[in-house]
């Protein structure tokens, strides 16, 4: 499968000269299968540019939302294929303990927050409460589990029979763990990530920043590295960059993280437009 990063920023879109290289769009990742099936992971502001590249001949799209924080859904109403009649769009995301996905998502996709109602979109998207289990979508096998992050939040493990992608953009597995990590059985997200060819994981904070944000649902870079080591992944993509981290700072953080190596995996910092083949 081919994976393209369309938005790598966390929390808030961060346009500006200081973020132009890593990009300021929030979470969105495109996954293309060998038969060109299209998965979209999260609908942050990066999904707008992705939408402009989707061929009019594409008739089915699956959007997998990890959770409904604004930085992961804000771009949904700007995804051009949703306005095409005849495109079959399936949106998956977690329900809460009291509300289904449609009810939750409608709070955003309706006035006064957004002028177009979900039900008025020409594509009439199909909404699915994502099952907390394994399921099939086109040529992909997807495993979905709840992970440590405030509110109902899932991570995804996606395989196409060949490679495996693990996507945990908002994840705080170190929450409450004095010496992270504990053993694998007690580590949030472990089964999603284990032995993945590519792990896209939350690295929002430096360790000093994490100490000031414990419980906010995000990882320090050191935690993501420890998690990747525990899960024995082949490549770790640093993702969900803090909106206050400039290109220069992200370069420095990657270099500093690399200095703590060598690691049994490749360490990459996610940049908008970056592509991976697995």
């Amino acid at each position: 499968m081919r994976i393209t990063l369309w938005g790598t920023r966390g929390s808030l879109p961060s346009a500006g000269p200081e973020t132009v290289r890593y990009g300021g769009n929030t979470s969105c990742v495109e996954v293309r299968g060998r038969s060109h099936a299209l998965l979209v992971l999260d609908a942050g502001t990066g999904i707008r540019r992705l939408g402009g590249t989707v061929d009019p001949g594409v008739t089915r799209i699956h959007i997998l939302l990890t959770h409904l924080h604004m930085d992961h859904i804000q771009g949904l109403g700007f995804f051009a294929p949703l306005y095409r009649d005849g495109v079959e769009v399936h949106v998956y995301g977690p329900r809460s303990t009291t509300q289904d996905l449609r009810t939750r998502l409608t709070r955003y996709l309706s006035p006064p927050l957004f002028p177009v109602r979900l039900r008025d979109l020409p594509s009439r998207p199909h909404l699915h409460d994502v099952p907390l289990s394994r399921f099939e979508v086109d040529e992909f096998t997807i495993t979905c589990e709840l992970v440590a992050h405030p509110g109902p939040t899932v991570g995804y493990r996606i395989t196409d029979g060949g490679g495996t992608l693990a996507y945990l953009p908002d994840h705080e597995p170190a929450l409450g763990v004095p010496r992270f990590p504990l053993d694998a059985a007690w580590t949030s997200g472990y089964e999603l990530a284990q032995r993945a060819d590519l792990l896209i994981h939350d690295t929002q904070y430096t360790m000093p920043e994490y100490v000031e944000h414990v419980g906010w649902g995000h990882s320090a870079i050191d935690h993501a590295i420890a998690f990747a080591r525990l899960a024995r992944v082949r490549r770790l993509v640093m993702f969900h960059h803090d909106p206050g981290h400039s290109d220069a700072m992200l370069d420095r953080l990657l270099a500093e993280a690399g200095n703590a190596g060598p690691f049994p995996f490749e360490l990459v910092s996610g940049i908008e437009g970056m592509q991976f083949e697995i």
């Binding site: 907390l132 709840l146 694998a184």
Partner: protein, 131 residues
């Protein structure tokens, strides 16, 4: 090795910060975790003992009621939380593996996650002797 559900993982993290003894069990009653405050009851540190099958830990205490009558396993709050999937409370007397007799107030509640996934139960102990 199966990774624990995130609700169980977060329950352990919370329990590890509490001063009241806490047990976390799976749907079969196997003891998944007990915090440091519960270690005197079981006579072992969790880091040494790890998880315990129900047949192992449930025989340790020989619980009795306030009048000293033996309590059948099904009468214990944790068993009620597991079997009837509702919270339960009872005052019991036990002698832990440290040899100290204790009168305990026990509150247990089931853990039910999203999609009505039954994950197990939690018991919290309060020592009446400590009042």
């Amino acid at each position: 090795m199966l990774q624990k559900q995130v609700e169980i993982i977060l329950m352990r993290q919370l329990a590890s910060y509490l001063t009241l003894p806490v047990f976390v069990v799976d749907p079969e009653g196997n003891l998944l975790y007990y915090n440091a405050s519960a270690e005197p009851l079981l006579g072992r540190q969790f880091d040494e003992a790890g998880e315990m099958p129900i047949r192992e830990w449930s025989t340790i205490f020989a619980p009795v009621d306030e009048r000293g009558a033996p309590l059948p396993p099904d009468a214990l709050p944790l068993a009620i939380a597991l079997q009837k999937r509702r919270p339960a409370y009872r005052r019991i007397r036990i002698t832990g593996l440290d040899g100290v007799p204790r009168e305990l107030e026990v509150v247990a509640f089931p853990l039910e996650g999203q999609g009505r996934r039954f994950l197990g139960a939690v018991a919290i102990f309060y020592s009446v002797n400590a009042r």
